[in-house]
């Protein structure tokens, strides 16, 4: 006769123990994995310093990928920043930093140098820019720190500037780089943001010429970016298909900082 081995049904107590064992083992493994994963990320090496620097390597990759995702999902030159009536513009316009734009620079001692694709360098005076149609914008300026302020700017629309100085070929490139005359502060802007209809090369704040704190004689006003990208006292402009160097991207901030 064949011996039959009947598998005994588990008692309730055994079932409880068994399920507890499995669940708490998985739970413990999950907790340990989470802790280990966090330690790995928190102690992950800093990226190799280059165009961007100062961030954990995996976090930098995430920043770039996330920005790209949102640009593809949502960026549209028809998405405009909200504008306000003149009465709402701040009388005292907040400023944070004047790296590269300390002190006064008499406009007659200043020229905007635009490096063309051909190697030719345009030398543009403030009067030439003032002669172009003036565009004004009153919008909520946003700082990466978290504050914002409604302010009133006037200048040349970036697209008008491109058209007037026949920089259409340059505008087909992927980035525009801007630097202060002393090269202390510099930003890189992706071309779609630069060509956004509300991007200005501003020479006025509250209908008066820019003063020292706001980057006289000419600054960038780009409402689709945080303040850190709104370079003060533009000295030179260049175009490229690779990302130009960027002051804050070298210190751990997102390269695009788009809004």
């Amino acid at each position: 006769m064949k011996k039959k081995r009947v598998k005994k049904e588990l008692t309730v107590e055994q079932k409880i123990q068994r399920r507890n064992f499995i669940s708490f083992t998985v739970f413990g493994a999950f907790a340990a994995g989470t802790y280990g994963g966090w330690k790995w990320l928190y102690n992950s090496p800093e990226e190799t310093a280059g165009i961007t620097a100062g961030a954990h390597k995996p976090l930098r990759r995430a920043l770039n990928a996330t920005e790209l995702f949102f640009r593809r999902l949502a960026f549209n030159e028809n998405h405009l920043v909200k504008t306000y009536p003149k009465s709402m513009a701040a009388k005292v316009v907040r400023h944070n930093s004047d790296i590269g734009s300390e002190g006064k620079l008499p406009p007659e001692n200043w020229k905007l140098q635009v490096k063309k694709k051909s190697g030719e360098v345009l030398q543009i005076t403030l009067d030439e820019l003032r002669a172009l149609p003036k565009t004004e914008i009153i919008y909520d300026f946003k700082c990466v720190e978290g504050w914002d302020q409604i302010s009133h700017w006037g200048g040349v629309k970036f697209t008008d500037f491109i058209a007037h100085f026949k920089l259409q070929d340059e505008a087909k490139m992927e980035y525009v780089g801007l630097e202060t005359p002393d090269k202390q502060y510099y930003v890189g802007i992706d071309m779609p943001s630069a060509l956004h209809p509300q991007t200005l090369l501003a020479y006025e704040v509250n209908e008066k010429p820019l003063n020292g704190q706001h980057g006289q004689p000419l600054r960038l006003i780009i409402p689709v970016k945080y303040g850190i990208k709104n370079l003060k006292r533009i000295g030179s402009m260049n175009f490229s298909n690779t990302r130009p160097r960027d002051y804050w991207a070298e210190q751990g901030y997102d390269y695009y900082s788009g809004l």
Binding site: V12, S23, D254
Partner: protein, 232 residues
Amino acid sequence: MKVIKEKHPLVMRWTHWVNFPILAIMIWSGMLIYWANDVYTVTIFGHTFVRFFPDWYYKLLHIPARLAEGMAFHFLFMWFFTLNGIFYILYTVISGEWRHLVPNRHSFKEAWLVLLHDLHIRKTAPPQNKYNAAQRIAYTAIILMGIGSVITGLAIYKPVQFNWLVWLCGGYHLARIFHFALTIGYVLFFLIHVVQVLLAGWNNFRSVVSGFEVINEQPKPVIETPHEEEKG
């Protein structure tokens, strides 16, 4: 006689525990960001009761001057927070679990009785199923708060591209305030939640890990309210 009673489905247990470290990291990295413009206070009639946050608090948690780092962490973990939340909501809706969760027309009145009971003012609590009325309200509110954090967060993150969200939040300023206030809300929820879990005991806690509760089935069921064992 001991009986196994199924309580929390696997998906709900996973999303609950996955959310815990994610939310912790979001709150921490959020503080690194908030520090750079720490303007919020609770001020009534010119008297400031609470300042977010005092210097000793920042120092204790090593918060100052880490804005860039905070943003980098925040903009990575926001994905996990959002995806985990979407997964949870989809599951709750499709499985029908929402019926245990969403407050019904009795919940608001009953929640008051539950509160009185929990504060030992009232002896009995209303009968309940999986969750009592107060839990239904709290757990539904926390999901709505999560949705609120994603919406206000997106509004602050891309205020030009999502300007309709900024409008929905009542402007950029308000969006940031709501985003911050919701976080304070999570902290308060967490404190009460943990106290309730401790009071509810092991059987209840275990059910959020292994999914079931052990109940003693008596031969002659007595009418009673097993509220103490089903909290948390």
